[in-house]
Assembly symmetry: C2
Homo-oligomer: 216 residues x 2
DNA sequence: AATTGTGAAATTGTTCACAGCA
DNA sequence: TGCTGTGAACAATTTCACAATT
């Protein structure tokens, strides 16, 4: 009933809990304590309890959380207790890899259509999905009731395509182009920037000593 | 001279500044104010100044920051003012896509060796790099003076491989397997989980209204 | 006895506001 | 005057600590 502002990190941790619960379920655990769940995810028990408490009281004092039920609750919170119609735009290196990425399918992200602007690719088949022409993007997104778009086109083409995507009402975009795209406030766009993660690693390498402390 | 604890988000913002400066340089800007840089990255000017101030005084009061110099300074901070020897393990869907990912090369992340355990792939060639047998992993990592490892193997194989990687002294790993890997404290591992980003998007879709506020 | 759920405290991160400098 | 650099104020997030519950 209570409504609160949920932070991005809380959501990401829910994703982690979900994966852990999935594993625990396979290992036939019936219940799990915040302590054990925290240990598996390298967090503190208080963090786990606080995160979950934003959404309700799912546990039993003295006992812990019921694995199967909690997994279901988190799935519902994350919106993965259903399937989503996804379009993947750009069937280049990254795009083709993503078509085969099992994890998407497994979480209910159903890639229904592929798009490319390269005439040699249009009409070809990837994992049983035909590649359509980006010229018919808006029309096909609507026809296929697409709710979520994954963008894997070159940086130079990305803004133009994203404008079309936004224009036909898509509210969620996962972008692999290494560029900051402009979208209206009511559209959520996440940019997956792999080079940035390498830069973070390179930073830790040159600034050695992970547990670095301030000198003041 | 001063030494402080730098947050992960600060580092990520430096990566963004670096990209923006790169663009600005191409646009022939000589200087840039924190205000303008903030606008381009959708941040506040104070944030930009504070981030940079952790590392020194790079600007000129009344004028702003010299684009070219600041870019160089950030490159140095991030450790991308040099090249890194990278090994990519796992030449499946994602692995092959990463070999061709221009952005890595561009930032000085030089993929020197590829590994796979599939006999059909071993000896084959991707973008001029020969695929080696994971059986010789440790030996080859050392021989090629690898400093950074990108892991793109199935989740089931990941922990075993990471143990070998850690064993021969690698301190930085970028992991694409959707699993939490155990590494010693002095090894930095970043896990790129693409399904997690989709889950975040799906969360925003079911919990509509981006600017959500608490009700108390 | 064990473990949740949660206010309060501690910590971390961001923004303000202004002195200091070109 | 314009804009940086930064301590202080503020905001958000995490951790603590303990009452409540099974």
């Amino acid at each position: 009933m209570r409504e609160r502002k949920i932070s991005e990190s809380t959501i990401h941790r829910l994703s982690h809990y979900y994966r852990a619960l999935n594993t625990l379920e396979k290992e036939h655990f019936e219940t799990i304590s915040s302590k054990e769940l925290a240990k598996r995810e390298k967090l503190t028990p208080a963090q786990v309890r606080k995160d979950l408490s934003f959404f309700g009281s799912f546990g039993t004092r003295g006992l812990g959380y019921p694995v199967k039920e909690l997994k279901g609750r988190i799935a519902k919170i994350l919106g993965i207790d259903r399937t989503w119609n996804v379009a993947l735009i750009g069937v280049g290196n990254i795009g083709s890899a993503l078509v085969s990425y099992k994890e998407f399918q497994r979480q209910g992200f159903n890639i229904k259509v592929l798009f490319d602007s390269d005439q040699r690719k249009i009409g070809s088949n990837h994992k049983g999905i035909t590649v359509l022409d980006t010229d018919h993007l808006e029309e096909e997104l609507q026809k296929n009731k697409i709710e979520l778009v994954v963008l894997a086109v070159p940086a130079s083409a990305a803004q133009n395509i994203v404008d079309h995507v936004v224009h036909c009402g898509i509210k969620a975009i996962l972008n692999f182009a290494p560029i900051k795209l402009k979208v209206p406030d009511d559209v959520e766009i996440r940019t997956e920037n792999m080079a940035m993660e390498l830069e973070y690693l390179s930073f830790t390498l040159v600034n050695n000593k992970k547990g670095e402390r301030k000198k003041t």
